[in-house]
Amino acid sequence: MAPVLELRNITKRFPGVLANDRISLTLEQNEIHALLGENGAGKSTLMNILYGLYQPDEGEIIVRGRPIKIHSPSDAIRAGIGMVHQHFMLVPVLTVAENVMLGDEMLTAGVFLDRRGAAQRIRDLSKQYGLEVDPDAYVKDLPVGVQQRVEIIKLLFRNADILILDEPTAVLTPQEVNDLFKVIRSLVDQGKSLIFITHKLKEVLATADRITVLRAGRVVGSTTPAQTTEASLAAMMVGREVSLEVEKARAKPGEVVLSLEHLEVLDDRLNVAVDDVTLEVRAGEILGVAGVQGNGQTELVEVITGLRRPVSGSIHILGHDVTGASPRRITELGVAHVPEDRQRDGLVLSYPVADNIALQEYYKPPFAKGVVIDEQAIQKEAARLVQQFDVRTPSVQTPAAALSGGNQQKVIVARELSRPVKLLVASQPTRGLDVGSIEYIHQQIVRKRDEGAAVLLISSELDEILALSDRIAVMYRGRVVAVVDAETATKEYLGLLMAGADPATTPAPERRQRVEVVT
């Protein structure tokens, strides 16, 4: 049988970048096809071409044996192609049903929105594919995992049978990832075909039928999970051996850098988000905060970095009381912050990379002389960091919006880690990064620790928490339910605590065997 989709020699140039270089790819009926590649390899670009958001400079797209031109997403939808973007595209103040109908409105009597009919259709689709959502809920009230289901339902609503998911698992909790893969299975079993992009090799090996690897805009290989391993996939992506383990010496904790006492914080809807949290992070150690997303980690980070005010309790950084202090004051004490939501808080997308590099220190020498911004100095520093952190960008003048998702993240990490830091608050620091970059950034975080910085690491990746942390605090419903020594922690044990098990009655695991690297 002919493949459902065939891309032939797709080439796409952006100013200064060859984003796709004669890429050919086929997608068979009922296939789960994983697309892998470094940050900036051209994965999103290729998929955006398929979805009609970009026009290829050269090449052909063949759907079910017929060559077609895709000028816009509506052409793509007509050809049965649907896409969920790396950054979601939902309207938060509308309900699920309204979001799903957007652009494909069901009408009664030709003019009125048929909300009821749409809701019914959404319920049917939910049942058919195991995608639980409430059509009447407002999108802004939904956790990310459910928002993603809404995005998928949007595609099914439009009868797409070729589905593209761009980094669908980057923002999901492990539980949500499992649910997503169940949904994906049921989609494929019922006749859909699917391409998904990810940086998580384990997921690829567990779910994909076929794997295509891109590097620098080209296809460098194609394989199946049975024929390959995590390590060889990593090597294929990056072009060198990647160490998937973090090497680090035992921590030598020093003075207390961050201390939180009986902190209570409300979220935007005035519910208690952080509930009586008392914690300490010392110089030279990494404290990991584990927890299912939405258990108060976001608010905890915001309150420490001055973006939110606590209701009660106190925050001290290096002995200074910074409870309710401004972000500027906190930054000036030597706090670096890698924010959870890079496009919302961490970057000005319309600014060039260079200005984003200067975003925190634009008012100080060498970036400013008096009131005058020194563009030369900013560009020089930006060029240095772009080089050091391997940010793939045509130039430091390129707007951040034109960078691939992972490279946007690297710009933030480069900015935050390049300063003399006493306390690093890193929220999902490697979200959306490829294995090579993760390796590098993990090394940098450990180096900051070894230089004497205190590190507060928030991550929904248990692997990341386990690999980096010296101590692990588990958050559940706004409380720190336990602080455990990273050496004695296991994934299973943390998983139980994160799900709300009582630490007093949950048996702690045996001491883990651990390779000590003595430096």
Binding site: D21, K69, L307, D341, R344, V348
Partner: protein
């Protein structure tokens, strides 16, 4: 094994192609230029269709059409529709016809077929008998736009003749139109800068008109109430008073926005009304010059912005002050720390907060500066042109400047260019009204069309099939579905 399929990768060409200055300038200017062109084309249609003689001839010709004429007319419409469709998306139609495989040349098909379509339609209309109508319409449009040009830039023949005669008075008269355009441009530049600065901070300052009024009031007051100062002191003082008055009028909505989140659009509109009524009262009461009309006393001579040429040319120092202020605003926005903050607050307030910027302060600062610039526009009018303030001073400069800032893309250089354009249109429009009997409202229509096209650039891109530079994501979406 996976490694066996691993091929050697040649790094792609990543030499940063730095586009030349001209290319960048063209990219920045092409949308406004095309918007303007389109607005003039549509304006031309309106002029032709509102011309009495054209309408009469049209009715006359139509009534004499026979059956063949009607058939040809239908054909003409078909040619128009078909030709337009083809020139819009030739590649679709060509690929449907499976006529050519590679439609890389489609753009040329489009341009050529557009030209052919226009030619064919005109030819057919002439054959049917619409020739005289077309000719009348052509005359109406050219005489209107001709008068517009002559009224704003002057008559080239007259200029040459005056220059060769060497007669100072003749030269003055020949350059009078162009000098009037510059005089009209000056307040536009100030007010346009005001709105543009607000835009850069994400603020929609609808209140430029009111701020301009207050600026005029305060500067005229300083101009007539204080006497005996030398001009070098009095002029800056009066200008400063105008800026201060405007700044205070901008401060109020700025404070309300920063402190309680009240939307600046509503509050600046409210402040406009307060300004209008306030000036009405002042001019009828405390500031009234003895006499029947509500008008302020004349300002002292020492407060007048010096005129640079003999009468009747009113061109005065204000124009150069406007250019200087534009240069300063450019420096402020793009080279100074303060401007960086204001722009960041405008581009992404969340990131500005994250980076430790004081959002409330920046909003207040931007509103004050915006108000001060609008106030300067008012001060410039009373100190440079009118020398007093009349109740009917309402010029619409403040409202027009919103369109102007959009057209100038909120960039000081763009604002200067757009200000020159608007000033030219305004002073040329008067002559157009006198000579060609075209109501000056057509200028307002053209300005309105320019705003519409600038506010929806997708229309212009679609009409002229311009690919977006960089072809990036249409909106900068905010991430992770939050």
């Amino acid at each position: 094994m996976a490694e066996s399929v691993l091929r050697e990768v040649i790094p792609p060409v990543t030499e940063a192609r730095h586009r030349s200055l001209w290319q960048r300038a063209w990219e920045a200017i092409q949308l406004p230029a095309l918007a303007l062109l389109t607005a003039f084309l549509v304006g031309g249609f309106i002029i032709a269709l509102s011309d009495f003689k054209v309408l009469e001839a049209l009715a006359d010709t139509t009534s004499r059409l026979n059956a063949i004429g009607y058939i040809l007319l239908v054909m003409t419409v078909a040619v128009l529709v078909g030709g337009t469709a083809f020139s819009r998306r030739p590649e679709i139609i060509l690929s449907r016809l499976r006529f050519v495989g590679n439609v890389g040349q489609a753009r040329w098909f489009g341009v050529v077929s557009a030209v052919l379509t226009i030619g064919a339609v005109i030819g057919l209309l002439v054959v049917i008998g619409f020739g005289p109508v077309l000719w009348l319409a052509w005359n109406a449009v050219t005489s209107a736009y001709g008068a517009l040009l002559e009224g704003s830039l002057g008559n080239p023949l007259q200029i040459v003749a005056a220059l060769s005669s060497g007669d100072a008075r003749a030269i003055g008269l020949a350059f009078y139109p162009i000098s009037e355009s510059l005089v009209a441009s000056t307040p536009y530049i100030f007010a346009g800068l005001a709105v543009a600065l607000g835009f850069r901070c994400g603020l929609f300052n609808i209140g430029a008109e009111g701020q301009l009024f207050i600026g005029a009031l305060t500067s005229v007051f300083v101009g007539y109430a204080i006497t005996g100062l030398p001009a070098v002191v009095h002029i800056p003082l009066a200008l400063g008073a105008g800026a201060l008055g405007g700044a205070i009028w901008g401060l109020v909505p700025g404070l309300l926005k920063a402190r309680v989140g009240a939307h600046e659009v509503i509050n600046t509109i409210m402040m406009n009304y307060i300004a209008f009524r306030l000036s009405e009262w002042l001019l009828n009461g405390p500031m009234k010059r003895p006499g029947a009309v509500p008008v302020s006393p004349f300002i002292a001579e020492s407060a007048q912005l010096p005129r640079l040429f003999p009468d009747p040319i009113r061109f005065h120092l204000g124009f150069f002050i406007a250019l200087g202020v534009a240069a300063f605003i450019w420096w402020f926005l793009f080279k100074s720390r303060w401007g960086f903050e204001i722009r960041t607050v405008g581009a992404n307030p969340n990131a500005a907060r994250y980076a430790g910027m004081n959002i409330a302060f920046n909003i207040i600062l931007a509103m004050c500066m915006s108000g001060a610039l609008a106030g300067l526009a008012g001060a410039n009018e009373v100190l440079g042109v009118n020398y007093n303030l009349a109740n009917a001073f309402s010029s619409g400069y403040g409202f027009d400047s919103i369109a102007l800032a959009l057209l100038g893309r909120s960039h000081p250089l763009g604002v200067v260019l757009a200000g020159l354009l608007f000033g030219t249109l305004r002073s040329g429009g008067t002559r157009m009204q006198n000579v060609a009997q075209i109501p000056i409202d057509i200028i307002i229509v053209i300005q309105a069309l320019v705003i519409a096209f600038m506010a929806a650039p997708a229309i212009i891109r679609a009409i002229y099939r311009i690919v977006k530079p960089g072809e990036g994501e249409v909106v900068f979406t905010r991430g992770w579905g939050r």
